[in-house]
């Protein structure tokens, strides 16, 4: 019963926001934040509860909501990220137009996502999935201009995914007479492996497209970079990860652990192939990210890359792996959202500049934003004392334990790429020379700083005390049938070693204090001015200190001939062929009446001919 109220608040709140927007701007802004907060509080009340509520029936199929640890975990993540983005939007979107629509869609996407994770049957899953998809489309296209193409790419791929899901869902329904996830999972073990593979591949395509898993990733970079930044945070942070949720549902809820691991044999076993897909997903996108000059596009490619880690963790199918994978989802959500919000704040102050070549030196102007970016980047790289470290540690450990050395190596390479590209990101925005025109830039307003600060704190908190989320994640793993891990508030005890982050934290803190004391007690500090350096013996004027252009240029020159998105080109070619085919087919309607009548007569003749000679019926 309560779940229904929750969803009605989510959807009703979205509608009401739109209506209130027609009355007054303030009311709308206030109300959208209010709704997000209410939902957050409501959701946190559900912690540890289990509930199954049938709420409606569609074409004779009962629609059911349920909450358990898995869905609670996702729901609270969704809700928190949306709340932060909405708060961030208050000032980011202030001068834009059609805000009623913006907030409406933002909350609708949120409601759709909540619906997805709360759905206990595939039909309501599909319905909420579609609501989420088209409202996200409207938000991606919001910025106009090049955003339109990004939106088209997104929605076409999204429809293809949904259609695959629809076929899989209805096929399950016709075979088992139910769409209830738990009932299907109890019956599917008797199905032939060919049928399971059929369903599995359809669903894999459906969720893979949303999760932007290679080779279905092509929609993501343009969509992420063109959407309004607060929505990019939601999009990259959690909307894309609905695909991960879908993977979890099919692998471990519908198929179940045993069936999933037994799908295929040896090197061709399904989860092993999937793990390789994950590895490809890590390596290629992170290196592509290195050469991006658009800050949001750079982050977008990381969104794809980090998805690879999650797939890797989940596909291996050990308890360490699954905990690492799921934990990585929430970690990724926190730092990628943080980074997108940082970019948003910079965009806001620089009037929409995202080009990494023309920014620089903003560290003094926007210190808090810089700290946010630093923490976010550390999280993304996986520096110890941030949450990204913990989940990556878990995933590495899994790979090493299993002896998948190539996969582990791929994950490691991915981390190098991440370091390089995020160094570029931070350097080009915050370090280096401050361009003349940004001299009078102000720091970000409070409503932007607030979510940045909170998210940074969350990243560090989960990095030092990973036990808080890991306990929940572990119980999700247990509910999938994995054996429980020994999780403590300070870290994790696994069969290969202990990860105690509080100890690490103390060690680092102590050494930091130690070095600080040494440095303080040492010589006087000397400040060296920027002008005070010479290149080849000649003085360089101040405005020539611009390191930020053409980063990694030699490396880029080296790989340039291969630096093409072959898959994207392939898809574009398909669309182009379709368009040409369409033009060709339309020529049938040539405008000549004589031909038209001939068509009728020919049709008649063919019908008779078929009957007389073909015996088709």
């Amino acid at each position: 019963m309560n779940l229904e109220i929750l969803l009605s608040i989510a959807f009703g709140g979205a509608f009401l926001t739109y209506i209130f927007g027609k009355i007054s701007r303030r009311l709308r802004d206030f109300f959208s934040v209010f709704i997000s907060l209410i939902l957050t509080i409501f959701l946190s009340y559900f912690y540890g509860k289990f509930e199954v509520v049938p709420y409606f029936s569609f074409l004779g199929i009962p629609l059911i909501l349920r909450i358990n640890t898995l869905s609670w975990f996702f729901a609270i993540t969704i809700q928190l990220i949306t709340t932060f983005s909405v708060i961030f939007s208050l000032s980011y979107m202030k001068e834009k137009e059609r805000l009623d629509f913006y907030y409406f869609m933002m909350l609708l996407v949120n409601a759709g996502m909540l619906g997805i994770v709360l759905a206990a049957d595939l039909l309501s899953f599909y319905i909420f999935w579609e609501i989420m998809s088209w409202s996200a489309f409207l938000l991606i296209s919001y910025n106009r201009g090049t955003a339109l193409e990004a939106g088209m790419k997104y929605i076409v791929m999204s429809i293809i995914g949904s259609m695959c899901m629809l076929v899989a869902m209805i096929s399950l329904y016709t075979n088992y007479g139910t769409l209830n996830i738990s009932q299907i999972s109890s019956q599917i073990s008797s199905a032939s492996s060919g049928y399971i593979l059929f369903i599995f591949i359809l669903l894999l395509v459906a969720f893979g497209i949303k999760n932007a898993t290679w080779p279905f990733h092509t929609w993501l970079p343009p969509a992420h970079s063109e959407a309004p930044s607060p929505f990019s945070a939601v999009l990259s942070g959690i909307l894309v990860r609905m695909g991960m949720y879908g993977f979890l549902i099919i692998f471990y809820v519908i198929l179940g652990l045993k069936l999933f691991l037994n799908l295929g044999k040896g090197l061709c076993s399904f989860h092993y192939i999937l793990a390789w897909v994950g590895a490809i997903n890590i390596v290629i996108p992170t290196f592509i990210a290195m050469f991006q000059n658009d800050s949001k596009r750079l982050l977008a490619w990381h969104g794809i890359g980090q998805g690879g880690y999650m797939v890797l963790g989940i596909a291996i199918g050990t308890s360490l792996g699954i905990v690492g994978g799921i934990f990585h989802i929430v970690n990724h959500t926190s730092y990628i959202a943080l980074l997108f919000l940082v970019v948003g704040a910079i965009e806001y102050r620089t009037k929409g500049v995202r080009d990494l070549n023309s920014l620089g030196g903003l560290i003094k102007k926007m210190p808090i934003t810089f700290l946010g970016a630093l923490v976010g980047a550390c999280g993304l790289i996986g520096v110890p004392l941030t949450n990204g470290f913990v989940s990556k540690w878990l995933i590495y450990k899994t790979l090493i334990l299993k002896g998948y050395s190539f996969l582990a190596f791929a994950a490691l390479i991915g981390t190098w790429g991440t370091i390089l590209s995020l160094y570029k990101f931070i350097h080009n925005i915050f370090l280096g020379q401050l361009p003349e025109k940004y001299k009078d830039i102000e720091k970000a307003p409070f409503s932007m700083q607030f979510p940045i600060i909170i998210l940074s704190l969350i990243i560090i908190l989960f990095g030092i005390l990973p036990g808080i989320p890991l306990k929940v994640v572990n119980s999700i793993g247990v509910s999938f049938g994995f054996k429980s891990l020994d999780v403590n508030i300070w870290g994790i005890i696994s069969e290969t070693g202990i990860l105690n982050l509080v100890n690490i934290f103390t060690a680092i803190l102590v050494s930091l204090i130690f070095f600080w004391i040494i440095f303080r007690s040492g010589a006087e500090r000397v400040k060296i001015l920027q002008d005070n350096s010479y290149a080849a013996g000649s003085y360089i004027p101040k405005d020539k200190y611009n390191y930020t252009v053409e980063f990694y240029q030699p490396l880029f020159r080296m790989i340039k001939p291969y630096f093409r998105d072959f898959i994207d080109e392939f898809y574009s070619k398909i669309v182009e062929t379709g368009r040409r085919l369409s033009d060709r087919i339309r020529k049938v309607y040539c405008g000549d009446l004589g031909y038209y009548v001939t068509y009728i007569v020919l049709f008649l003749a063919i019908l008779i001919a078929i009957k007389l000679w073909g015996k088709i019926w």
């Binding site: 309607y589 000549d592 009446l593 009548v597 007569v601």
Partner: protein, 113 residues
Amino acid sequence: MIYYIGALGLIFIGLFIIMTRHNLIKMIIGLNIMDTGVNLFLISIGYIRKGTAPIFSKPGINPGAMVDPTPQALVLTAIVIGVAVIAMALSLAIRLYQHYGTLNMRKIKEQRW
């Protein structure tokens, strides 16, 4: 039998005209010929050689020799419909000529693709 052949012949002639002629008026004529053929066909279904009118006007008429009245009723209706269609077509042809200055349907191809 000869009526059926005649009717079929008319229908095919009409169709042939519509398919091959370019002039709208000729096409309409073709349509009319086709209509006539169909009407003839309908009539000949109910026709009996040396039959009588389907009315018991005087005693002793053999009902088996009566011409079937239903096709005649059908044909009447069909003729009326045909006339309406032809009238409509001709009035459209007039309008078309006003717009294009020609009735050659090979040249009137603005609506296509």
